[in-house]
């Protein structure tokens, strides 16, 4: 349906040359018959990913939109989205498991708000893997209500001393640094004014990371305890008291790219579902056909809306509350896709068998075998977290109602 793509927006086609370059890179560096990382075992994936990251770094494709002086590719935001789309289609990662935090989140925030010395120190180090970040935002007492965080940082000479606890820290064990939203203001400071975003090294006695086991059986995130943890003064991103602005800005940086990649990934997952349903003759059932058509429609609606959003983003219009609509759409769709797979699997879906999924957030990777029970079932459980993480569905609806429709708080 490539003609449909021409109807809306630009399909990012102004950068056809860059797209060809990316495809050329993929062809030159992937084995023939490559189906996607979904076809690898977890061990094979880990090995592939490390090698792949080095390759991307060498080709300046790991942070394509960062300035070249820091090791980036000096590319435009649109070209970055094109790269993301092509990589999603080929079923290869953009970098390491922590790079969404290191590059998309804190790296982009440093570029926008960081001091020169922070940029010079961290950006090249993020690219070459010296600094591997995770995110310290949510606390047991403050998830949706992030503005009320209580982890405290106080000055002690040339250092900050941090006391408190963060939770749901994704990929904390593979990181060596963390960006932490701390309260630095006194009681007279407003809720938001009293916050500072600090960069903190993880390997120190004052920080303990304890893995939390999730419903899908894995332990991808942790509780992180700060007891007299220390970091240098000068590592405040956006200045002392600038934490709320930095944190909220940080969350917007990856939006242009997810608009480009989500439809690709969800379409690939639907194709796997289709293969599964056809192999089980499940499509003989009219209810299954109806549900599949509903899911297919949702993905296509997402794709067409995405093209429109991308056109506006390309023109420099910020993607604001529309991203809440996108998040609601895919996160609530996902459980229905995986639910349909489980229905087709029937009793089999009460067990685990076959290869595990190669990733637990979003769809399983392209290349994953259609019939792997464990793959479908574990992603089905992971999907439960997708309507909670990165802003719950309830919060997203509030955002849309208040900021798009203007309903009163």
């Amino acid at each position: 349906m490539t003609a449909v793509v021409e109807a809306g927006a630009t399909d990012l086609s102004a950068d056809a040359a860059f797209r060809a370059e990316v495809r050329g890179f993929l062809e030159a560096n992937l084995p023939s018959g490559w189906r996607g990382v979904g076809g690898l075992t977890p061990g094979e994936y880990e090995e592939f990913r490390a090698h792949w990251r080095s390759l991307l770094t060498a080709h300046r494709l790991i942070a394509p939109a960062w300035p070249r002086e820091y090791g980036g590719g000096g590319r435009t935001a649109v070209q970055s989205a094109i790269l993301a789309e092509e990589f999603a289609r080929a079923g290869v990662p953009r970098g390491g498991a922590n790079d969404p935090f290191s590059i998309q989140m804190i790296g982009n925030t440093l570029l926008a708000l960081g001091s020169e010395s922070q940029k010079a120190r961290f950006l090249p180090g993020i690219i070459d893997g010296t600094y591997v970040f995770c995110q310290g935002f949510s606390e047991p007492g403050h998830g949706s209500d992030l503005g009320g965080v209580t982890t405290r940082a106080r000055r002690d000479g040339g250092e900050w001393v941090i006391e408190g606890q963060k939770i749901w820290t994704s990929n904390a064990l593979t990181a060596n640094w963390i960006f932490v939203l701390c309260r630095t203001g006194d009681e007279s400071a407003s809720r938001h004014e009293g916050l500072t975003l600090l960069l903190v090294p993880l390997d120190q006695p004052g920080i303990e990371r304890r893995p939390i086991r999730m419903i899908n059986g894995t332990s991808e995130f942790c509780e992180t305890f700060f007891t007299g943890a220390r970091t240098q003064v000068g590592l405040e991103v956006g200045g002392v008291g600038g934490g709320w602005r930095a944190a909220t800005g940080l969350l917007t940086f990856e939006r242009g790219e997810t608009t480009a990649t989500l439809p690709v990934r969800f379409r690939a997952e639907l194709e796997r579902l289709r293969d599964l349903l056809e192999s089980r003759h499940a499509l003989d059932d009219p209810l299954v056909r109806d549900e599949f058509a509903w899911c297919w429609t949702r993905v296509e609606l997402m794709r067409l809306s995405g093209l429109n959003n991308l056109a506006r983003w390309e023109r420099g219009e910020p993607i604001g509350p529309e991203s809440s609509l996108e998040k609601l759409m895919w996160s609530e769709l996902h459980g229905r896709v995986t639910g349909l797979a489980c229905r087709a699997l029937g009793d089999e879906a009460t067990t685990y068998s076959g290869p595990d999924p190669s990733s637990y957030f979003l769809c399983d990777e392209p290349g994953a075998p259609a019939g792997s029970v464990s793959s479908w079932v574990k992603v089905h459980f992971s999907a439960l977290g997708e309507t909670i993480a990165a802003g719950t569905s309830e919060i997203q609806r509030n955002i849309v109602a208040e900021r798009v429709l203007g309903l009163p708080r």
Binding site: M1, A3, V4, E6, A7, G8, A9, T10, R274, L277, E278, H281, L283, D284, P286, R289, D290, F292, A293, W294, W296, T297, R298, E300, L301, M302, L304, S305, L307, N308, A311, R312, E322, L325, L328, M329, E394, Q396, R397, N398, V400, A401, E402, V404, L405, G406, L407, P408, R409
Partner: protein, 374 residues
Amino acid sequence: MDFSTNPDHDSIRQSVRSLLDKLGTEQDVRRAMETERGYDTDAWAALSQQVGAAAVGVPEELGGAGFGFAELAVVLEELGAALLPSPLFATRVLAVEALVRSGDLGVRPEIESLVAGELTATLALSATGGVWAPGKTEVVARGEREEFVLDGHASFVLDGAAADVLVVAALLDGVPHLFLVDGRAEGLHRTPLETVDLTRHQARIVLSATPARLVQCAESAESVIAEVLDVAAIALAAEQLGGAQRCLDMSVEHAKNRIQFGRPIGSFQAIKHKCANVLLELDAARSAVWTAAWSVDHAPEDVPVLAAMVKAHCSEMYELAARECIQIHGGIGFTWEFAAQLYFKRAHSSALMLGTPHDHREALVRRLGLGTAV
């Protein structure tokens, strides 16, 4: 093409809106829907002659205004928002599409009259129980060359009682064909149906040896009808988009102004979430409807899938928007006097007309080439 900033669309939208501001108020709607004809002739004259609405998307060499189906979708969206009863859908979307797509040079004079707003028309296709499939038509034709007569009946004919011309699907030697029938023809009996949606009149027609003229289809009549039904589904989806947006606008306005328990009811999360849910479905629909409308002219091979997709989605979206509009308005929402009931009935009927959401999802599966049982 970026639909959100297309200047052609903006100017067409503006002309239709200015006209509707004057001639398409809720009062106008209620007055027109109670008439026997089912629409106001002055409003139709203004729409078809001043704005040229029936000529949009028809090539200039056939007397049309040029532009494309995407521009017609803009007109339909605005009309869907206002709910103004109008012969536009039956005339331009059903009849004119069928005649143009037939490729019959002999019907050019009819096309020209229709797009100029001089005559109105409709398509009679549905058999008993509302089956819209050419092979199932319950009208039979006999005769030859220039002289045919039709016998049988059709129902759910939009504007069937008032239309000047009817395009009728009939079986000739067991094969579906299209015929032109004059609204005042001998042996044609037209009975208005008592419709739920008073803004869209329908009729049942009975034909007894009714004289008719064959429309020569370059491809088969069956393929012409299939194309018309897909295009009509997209057109209806554009209307549904306009209507649903109006429902959401009313809901939000009320939620901001209605005070209970010392605060606007829009400050309650339940109300916010209802509005957000409607917006989610509406926002998802927009790009798809525009893409579908654009594809009618520029990527017709994509139309069958897009038509099925947008009709299913927009039907459910409009029903949700209308239902929540009533719910958010509380007791008032339930009255005859308040506008919500008009939108709800249009949403209800639009969802069932030209195929239910389930029918379209079934068609989608088939058109995507899935499964063996289909």
